[in-house]
């Protein structure tokens, strides 16, 4: 028997007027997995993540996060998740330490744990020496690691990351993913949206969205294997099955599903 899923949604839909941002989406995320959420712009990724984080109410369907209903129990959900959006959202006019202490207080980190959690964030983000600097003065890579640190101060079992690495250089991005992995190793479920295919490779499983619908859900290897194509290879012109890159899979799946939405 598998443990209770960290996230489960069933036939979830969300409309804004006539626009169907998310349509009839169902999937489960297992505890402790790194779950990648992919799709072109306007595919409904952010809307889905906002519903799961309790920021939006779904139009229909069911959803559970950490066992709580996304319709009725958003307060319980908010205590148990970390959330970091593409909009970098710490206070630029507070120091690194002040941001940490604010979010620790907001999430009710017990006072005896606060110092330890603060030191943990400072060291994981590599900001020990800069603890008294204004957050606005930090480089983007640092800000993002600090934002991640602030999102997990209360040690949430589930972490939602909405395009956390957009606009960051490759080295910072790699560092960031090292952090994600260490969190996942410690048992945190990580739900992450991304545009970067090499980041998709890091995920345990991938969900691919297009036009508000789920069009594929598998491991990266499984997705590639399912899209092997015969290609004439070598001097003898033998047919060989070649594994496409994830990017090829992604593009052909989106094309088969009617192409990306033009905004």
């Amino acid at each position: 028997m598998s443990p209770k899923p960290a996230v489960r949604i069933e036939r979830l839909s969300k409309s804004f007027g006539a626009f169907r941002a998310v349509e009839d989406v169902s999937f489960e995320v297992h505890p402790g997995e790194v779950f990648g959420f992919l799709g072109p712009n306007g595919a409904g990724k952010t809307t889905t993540i906002k519903i799961l984080a309790g920021l939006l109410r779904p139009t229909s369907g069911r959803g559970e996060v950490a066992g709580f209903d996304v319709m009725r129990e958003t307060r319980e959900i908010k205590r148990r998740i970390g959330y970091m959006s593409q909009l970098f959202s710490l206070y630029a006019d507070l120091t690194v330490e002040e941001n940490i202490s604010f979010f620790a207080g907001l999430y009710g980190v017990a006072s005896e744990r606060r110092a330890a959690r603060r030191d943990w964030v400072l060291s994981m983000a590599g900001l020990g020496e800069h603890r008294r600097r204004l957050t606005g003065e930090l480089s983007l890579g640092w800000k993002q690691r600090l934002a991640l640190g602030c999102a997990v101060l209360h040690e949430p079992p589930i972490l939602f990351l909405d395009e956390p690495t957009s606009g960051v250089d490759p080295i910072s991005r790699r560092n960031f993913w090292d952090l994600i992995y260490s969190l996942a190793d410690a048992g945190t479920t990580v739900f992450v949206t991304t545009h970067y295919m090499e980041e998709a490779e890091y995920c345990n499983r991938l969900a691919l969205m297009n036009r508000g619908r789920l069009i594929a859900l598998d491991t990266p290897a499984g997705l590639r294997a399912a899209h092997r194509e015969p290609i004439l290879e070598g001097r003898e012109n033998r047919l060989e099955m070649v594994e496409p890159s994830l990017e090829d899979v992604f593009i052909s799946l989106v094309r088969d599903a009617g192409g990306a939405r033009e905004d």
Partner: protein, 372 residues
Amino acid sequence: MSTNGGARRVREMVIKEFRQVRRNRGLLRVIFVAPVMQLILFGYAVSTDVRGTATFVVDHDRSRDSRDLIEAFTASGYFRLAGGSERSRDLVRALDHGRATVGLEIPAGYSRALRGGDEARVQVLLDGTNSNTATIVRSYAERIVQQQSARATGAEESPAVDLRARAWFNPDLASRNYNVPAVIGAIMFLVCLLLTSLAVVREREIGTLEQLMVSPLTGRELIAGKAIPFAIIGLVDLAIVTAAALLWFGVPFRGSPPLLLAAGVLYLISGLGIGLLVSTVSNTQQEAFMAALLVFMPTILLSGFMFPVSSMPAVFQWITLLNPMRHFLVIVRGIFLKGIGLDVLWPQFLALFAMGVGLLGLASARFRMTAR
């Protein structure tokens, strides 16, 4: 989890808000310097006293009596000689060009008529563009002309009714004593309205509001976390501006300081509530700023700040009852000038309380942590 957790989250918000205010030098100026400067500016500018009105004189009589009359005008302090001539045309031109607001024309034979017991006529021409000033000036002029004629004829016979008006509470009838306390109300309202609405909308703009919305912070806690720091700032402003009004303008303060403080708290709650409501309908700081000004103008105009509520049409008088500033002005003027207490002012206190609670409640109801 308990109210305890809620209190802690509100405390964190308040601490955070003060840290941000402390780092924002522009905001510090708006909070601590601007109100005092506004008070001083308004204190001098918003004066309905009419003194030293530019007066153009045409004296056709050229007698001792006519000179006495002119002397009586200028000696009163209400009139200032801006020019004189022998031709009536010059007087008209002076009024047209705005060199004078009042024209005094004394016809030939004024002295004779005065002495002879006939009706002595003097013409006073007024620039009625500003009807308030004109009305006041006219009454001053009438009084002076009558006094002069009485003195010249030596008529000491007492009139049938001896009307002696005494102004209570503000014996000098100094408009500054009446206006400066009101300026305090206007400044506090503006500071509160603007700071609160901008503080919330700024968070929406930079994306931190979303971060707050995914946290366990409830809508009510967020509203409290925003309202408390700005209420404290508003009360500090009340103290600063009141001190400045007393020290700089020497406005009398006859009532109870704690009562003024209590009124300030109730009044600020309304201001904060409106500011928070503005923030719920604005997406950018510019929008919030515009909305705040749109609220501020009618609030001032319908408060009795400049135009007495009693001279408004009945419908507008009813509308002013929904204006927190109107009630606060009654309270501050009452406390400053009359020294009256809760026994008289309780309806205003009650109105402020009801409006404050209502507005804050409405703001927190509108402020949803989960969008539809």
